[in-house]
Subunit: 476 residues, 2 copies
């Protein structure tokens, strides 16, 4: 490690990527805050390499100089994983190519800066899907999705980003390029570096390209809003639907009544899901893959939708559900999804939102909700909890609007959410990652031997500690 | 690291696990060779701990003494991963409990020594499956399956062992116990140590317990033998079946005519799959999850089987397949599977079998086979290639019977198989792992930067190099 003057570093960076692709000051503004605009910082520079080799050279330079690097792609994260005070931000946005889609092999080969919705379009052109869907898909890039092992609404059927990736290419903290661009479904040739780099939030290297798994596009969707009396009954509904459809449930999302109220206040032109207000509103979607489930009958009814109506009708007669509406058109389907996808925006309508991203075993969601509602109300009786959840996989986003102005109370609520999840065998971070904002929870809750092993790995791969330093791992 | 005399070590081991559970000499015979009986060794001792804490104490002792440890469970591996000359073998066979099956959460919590077929039974009692099936399932244990990320015949639908595991507990080379026994489908709390330990073949620690994912048992199977004119046509058949069934193909296995000949020679009472001999015999199985695909009609026909017959009938009329037989009973289904599952035994009917376990992209299997057949025949014109394959996931087991007695020729054929796979973007190790026997291939073919990163991780987690030393990673 040598002592390099910052100005020298800027010149050397410009030599690698070209002057036009080194941004500082006002030019770096769009990379100087996160999506929530709650966190701000001043990077030393933002460099925008065009190739993996350029990324490698930038990393080698930083490693020699001992200058921290923070990788960034879409910058839509929620845990301050891209905070970069005084650091070189390496933006992957110029490496956005979708290099190849091979429909018969069901793969796409993409660069890290490819925007998620562009990958969706490229797959869609071949009647395939890349089933990683979440609100920020119009700006989120695959590099960040891989680095945080992003989840979203379809994990229930397709798994997280990790499960949608066959191979990666990455630049390690020493500048070495690891080529693990396998297209194979079976490849046991040494340690699983792919999955180690996926979800490491840029602290072990920079993912530059990936081989993604594509799935057949369902030939038809059946989408419904269902009101149920409790989350336990929602689980019965989910299991029943999985049984009846042979596991074809694509999404199973929970929106509480208090969220629907806030949504309708924000979007006065929007419709309520039911005539009556319900506390527990479920968005359920079933995807039909086989032709005979999707082929409209003589009366135009699509079998998968007719089947969903039939099952929901039976459940309604049995008193197992309170109400149900099946989408009769794609417009109605989009209307249902619009509610769910507004959740991040709605949560931030009031200041000081206390947000969490926890996971509990699916069968413990009701007890979790009961406990945390009681506990939050003890701490701040005026707090409004907006608990939107990917219910099918046990992932709940607790977004509380506090009445109290006391930051200590906010912190206590946040901790109480994590504690309640951990008590039930859950996790304090389901799909957003750890970044900076969940380091305290990592310290409190993660198995100490696991943290020690992670630190050893970090030290081994990043001896100079330059790669997104201070993120993920609690300070020693 | 202190210098401990071997006798002292044996006494100390006996203090930890009890004298009855330390085997040496003749008592250690069953752990002193591998399944193929081609590899033999003399361990210092075999210790059989009863708890994770005992495993931890044994590892701490070995780490202090600098004595190598080789973990072993069912010992059914094929790459000499348990060769243990002078080492302490830690057998997990006494830690065989299936601690819990939670059908509503679709998980099983098991210890590393649980035999695969016992896990199958435990899941089956709840109409669930643990879909990891291969020939050795009656003696293979889950610890070894996890450590090698075992594959088998159902990877096409359910993934490898890695994809069937939600959480693990493991003892690291320093004796620390890492508890990662998560039941969650979303858990992004730090580096993915689970997947790093899975597939590390016991070189980074000893997996002691796991949370396994269970799947609904298909309500009915439709199984058939199909003869096709080429492997490319087999892929067309697979894609057609996946489309028609909505991705319900459970297995798609290839047996060449020359394998069927050898099978029928070995089992003279067995039946040939077809009246005529064919070069390309495919075993295909479709699993019906939804009730309406499995409910027998008035004439007793199960829809999934009727549907498979119909599709195969069309393909036969179109000339796309040469022949097909759909199993009409479970006995007929078992008969079809018996052929496939005899492959390891059949391959070893002649001495000096040259076996490989490669993977290529599915759409490159025909060109791989053409190339390797030609190349092998150049090297040894009398060689008989028995290329049984998990065709649906691109995994081929080349098992050649050489005519040549020259070990150099055998080695050249082995290398030619790996080279041909690598040329096509494949892997020299699909599902068996690297162990000792594939280290030369690892050296030749694996990305050097990846090997360097693996070595750094090994050094970080196992500073004294005691954990299954000399396996997986090529010598520096």
């Amino acid at each position: 490690m040598t002592d390099t003057h910052p100005d020298d570093i800027l010149n050397l960076l410009a030599d690698i990527v070209g002057t036009a692709h080194v941004a500082t000051g006002a030019e770096a503004a769009r990379w100087s805050e996160d999506w929530t605009r709650q966190a701000h910082w001043t990077p030393l520079a933002v460099v925008r390499p065009a190739t993996t080799e350029e990324v490698s050279e930038v990393v080698r330079l930083a490693n020699r100089a001992g200058t921290p690097i923070v990788p960034v792609s879409g910058n839509t994260g929620l845990v301050e994983g891209t905070r970069a005070q005084g650091s070189i931000m390496v933006s992957l946005d110029r490496m956005s190519a979708i290099r190849e889609v091979r429909p018969e092999a069901r793969i796409a080969i993409v660069e890290a800066g490819a925007i998620l919705s562009r990958i969706h379009e490229a797959a869609g052109a071949h009647d395939l899907i890349f089933p990683l869907f979440f609100g920020a898909r119009g700006s989120a890039m695959i590099g960040g999705a891989l680095s945080t092992n992003a989840g979203g609404s379809n994990v229930l059927r397709y798994g997280s980003t990790r499960h949608l990736c066959l191979g990666i290419e990455a630049v390690l903290p020493t500048g070495e390029i690891v080529n693990l661009m396998s297209e194979l479904h079976k490849d046991n040739s040494g340690y699983d570096l792919r999955d180690l780099l996926i979800g490491a939030e840029g602290t072990l290297g920079i993912i530059t390209a990936a081989v993604l798994k594509l799935h057949p596009k369902p030939r038809a969707y059946a989408t419904a809003m269902v009101a149920v009396p409790s989350l336990d009954r929602a689980l019965v509904l989910l299991n029943r639907l999985q049984q009846e459809t042979g596991g074809a449930v694509e999404a199973f999302e929970f929106m509480p009544g208090v969220f629907m109220d806030a949504y309708l206040e924000r979007f006065p032109e929007a419709r309520a899901p039911f005539d009556d207000r319900h506390d527990i509103n479920i968005l359920v979607e079933v995807g039909a893959l086989a032709p005979r489930d999707a082929q409209p009958g003589p009366d135009g009814t699509v079998p998968v939708a007719a089947h969903l109506e039939e099952v929901l009708g039976q459940l309604f007669e049995d008193g197992a559900i309170l109400d149900a509406v099946v989408a009769q058109s794609d417009t109605q389907r989009q209307e249902m999804w619009a509610r769910r996808e507004a959740s991040a925006e709605v949560a931030r309508l009031r200041p000081n939102v206390i947000d969490n991203d926890i996971c509990v075993p699916v069968d413990k969601m009701q007890v979790f909700l009961d406990r945390i509602t009681a506990r939050a109300s003890d701490l701040d009786p005026g707090l409004i909890p907006l608990c939107v959840a990917h219910l099918g996989d046990g992932n709940l986003h607790f977004a509380g609007w506090p009445e109290s102005q006391d930051p200590e109370i906010h912190k206590a609520v946040k901790q109480a959410v994590d504690d309640a999840a951990m008590d039930l065998g859950g996790s304090f971070s389901a799909e957003h990652g750890v970044g900076l904002s969940k380091k305290p929870a990592m310290q409190r809750h993660k198995n100490p031997a696991a943290i020690q092993a992670m630190r050893a790995i970090k030290q081994a791969l990043d001896p100079n500690g330059i790669m997104n330093p201070g993120k993920v791992l609690p300070d020693a």
